[in-house]
Structures are given as structure tokens and as C-alpha cells.
């Protein structure tokens, strides 16, 4: 699927650019896009290195298992495949709480640690497990309590009440998240039924 999207985006772009007689923009876009990729990755490097360092301390102190056990009933329903008290649950919870608080910077490293733990449980290392798909569904829709970036931009452009969009954002993202979880459930059951 990702193969098709990637190939499609590039081929369509080249055809459209050629049709418009501006094929030279493709060269420019290839260079610029690659540069953006590197910039984004290096932007991630600082936060990921920092949070993974902090998380390693938390892990060694046994905080992840503690966190996972305390809040297990909540995530149990979302992730039925993960065994009780598994550290993956702790990371998933940290990831969800960071998303909720609008701490996107901290959410990604925790989500990646959760993926590493889920990969250990995954029987087929090349194919996403149902738990991974659920984690991604929650993260792509991500319930947002505080949309920090948009509040900052509204402030910058002189809004009378920059935080006015907090309520509407929370409602919209809540709706999207519920939809994502239900759809994920539906696909999960369908795949299970098919493989039987």
C-alpha cells in the first residue's frame, strides 16, 4: 500500500510537471524534499535521544511495569493481545498521555519505544501486528487537549482569544479518534475471520 502511494505520488508528479512544461521543478523538488527529510530527522534526533535517555532510567527503575499495571484496565480493552504488566502497555500509556497534553515532542519517542516492545511480541517481524495497528490508529487521529502550535500561531496573528479553538479541536479530534478505533476494530475482526 505504501509502495503504491509512494510510486503514485512520484510518477503523477513527473507526468503533471512534464504536461505543464515545467519538468525542471522535479529536480528542485527531489533536492528540497530530501533536504526536508534530513531536517525533520535531525529535529527528531534531539528529542528522541533525550526522551529515550529518560525512558531508559524509568525502565530500569521499573516504572514502566508499575505504570502498566496501574492503568491496565483502561488499555486492556484497546489492546487485548498484550500480556498483563508487559512494558509495552506502559509505553503506550505514556504515548497517549503525552499526545493528550499536546506534548508531541515527547509522544513520538514513547510511541517508538512502544513499537519496539510490540515488535518483540510480534510473530511476523515484517508485518504489522493488530496491536501495532491500534497504536497507529490512536496516534494518527490523536486526541488533543491542547493544540499548542495552533494556539501559538493564533496568538502571533493577534487573535482576541487564542485558546478559543481548544474546545472545537478537542471535540473534532475526539470524534476522529473514536472513528479510528472503531474502524481499526472492524478491520481487525475482518482480517481474523479471513485467516481462519
Amino acid at each position: 500500500m505504501l509502495n503504491v502511494i509512494w510510486l503514485g505520488l512520484i510518477l503523477i508528479s513527473i507526468i503533471v510537471a512534464a504536461w505543464n512544461g515545467r519538468i525542471e521543478v522535479i529536480n528542485q523538488a527531489a533536492f528540497e524534499g530530501a533536504k526536508t527529510g534530513v531536517t525533520v530527522a535531525f529535529g527528531l534526533l534531539s528529542v528522541i535521544a533525550f526522551w529515550m535517555g529518560m525512558m531508559r532510567i524509568a525502565e530500569k527503575a521499573g516504572l514502566m511495569e508499575l505504570f502498566a499495571k496501574a492503568l491496565a484496565p483502561i488499555v486492556r480493552r484497546l489492546f487485548p493481545d498484550i500480556p498483563d504488566g508487559h512494558p509495552a502497555l506502559g509505553y503506550i500509556l505514556s504515548n497517549m498521555s503525552a499526545n493528550l497534553l499536546g506534548l508531541g515532542n515527547a509522544a513520538t519517542p514513547m510511541g517508538l519505544k512502544a513499537m519496539e516492545e510490540l515488535q518483540k511480541l510480534n510473530p511476523d517481524k515484517q508485518t504489522a501486528s493488530p496491536a501495532m495497528c491500534t497504536l497507529l490508529a490512536i496516534n494518527t487521529a490523536s486526541i488533543t487537549l491542547i493544540p499548542t502550535t495552533m494556539i501559538a500561531i493564533r496568538m502571533q496573528y493577534g487573535s482576541a482569544n487564542p485558546v478559543e479553538i481548544v474546545g472545537s479541536t478537542l471535540l473534532a479530534s475526539f470524534a476522529a479518534t473514536i472513528f479510528a478505533i472503531l474502524l481499526d476494530r472492524w478491520y481487525r475482526h475482518r482480517t481474523k475471520r479471513r485467516s481462519r
Binding site: L44, K60, L136, I146
Partner: protein, 177 residues
Amino acid sequence: MVQWVSLLSLWAIPFLIAFILVYGLHKRVPVYESFVEGARGGLVTVIKILPHLIAMMVAITMFRISGALDLLLKVLEPFIEWLHIPAEIVPLALLRPLSGTGSLAIATDIIAQYGPDSLLGKLAATMQGSTDTTLYVLTVYFGAVGIRNGAYALKVGLWSDLAGVIASIIVVYMIFL
């Protein structure tokens, strides 16, 4: 409520850092060595993600700069009019699942043009703030652990982006109109 929430957001990270360190010390964890060890792991993760990000960013930048995005918008125009979605918001809705920085640029542009307190400005802010960039999340999360076959995750992500866009429009119209 809003003040309480932003205060919580402000204090969450300092509190978390202090809590982890103090708890680690209490459990006699070698905090400095553990931190460095974990940070080194983070380095490996980013190196794993880097090629995926370059691949995606190239494709998305090409799609935007080549005019293919504008073409797609033109094709979708009658459908959009039929749905009564403001035309100005459509590029944002289309780019939102593909590129976080790209859609942020469009949202900022709408806010700058129509004002942060206009209906369009509020809609742009809500739409941008309410979902995360699906393609980016998939690239990074799957890339970090070497998943090749993402099963149905992409479909779920893209459909819920559409749900997020529709929900944003409905909610903003209901609250602010």
C-alpha cells in the same frame, strides 16, 4: 479550565523529569549511564527512520511543487461545492494527512489572510490541530522497527483523517456560526 490546562501542560515535563530521576535514584539506578545508554538507542532509531523520511518527503514535495496537488483540487471541485465545504479549506484538508509542515504552512496562510478570529481561521486551526500527519506517523513508527507490511493501518489512518476533516467542519459550524 483553559488556564488550568495550560498550567498542567507547562508543568508536566519538568515534573516528569524530576520524578523519573528521583525514582531512579531511589531504586539505585545509575541514572547518568542509563540516560546515555538510552540516548544512544535514540540515535540508532533516528538513523533507521532517516531513509524513510527522505523517501516520503521527496514524493510529497514533488506532488506539491509539480502542480499535481492543484490538479487534484480542480478535479474534486464539483464534489466539494456539492458538499458545501469552503473551497479555501480544501488544500489544507488534502495535504493534512500527507505533510505536517506543508499543511501547517497552508493553515498559517489561511489564518494570516482571513484573520485568526474569522470562521475560516478557526476552521483551519481546528483542522490542523485535531489530527496528526498519518503518512508521517506511519513512516516513522513502522520504519523504526522495520515493518514492511503495514496491514490495514494506512486505510484506518486515512479514513479517520477524512472523519477528522468532516468533524472539524461540523463542530466549528456548530460552535462558532
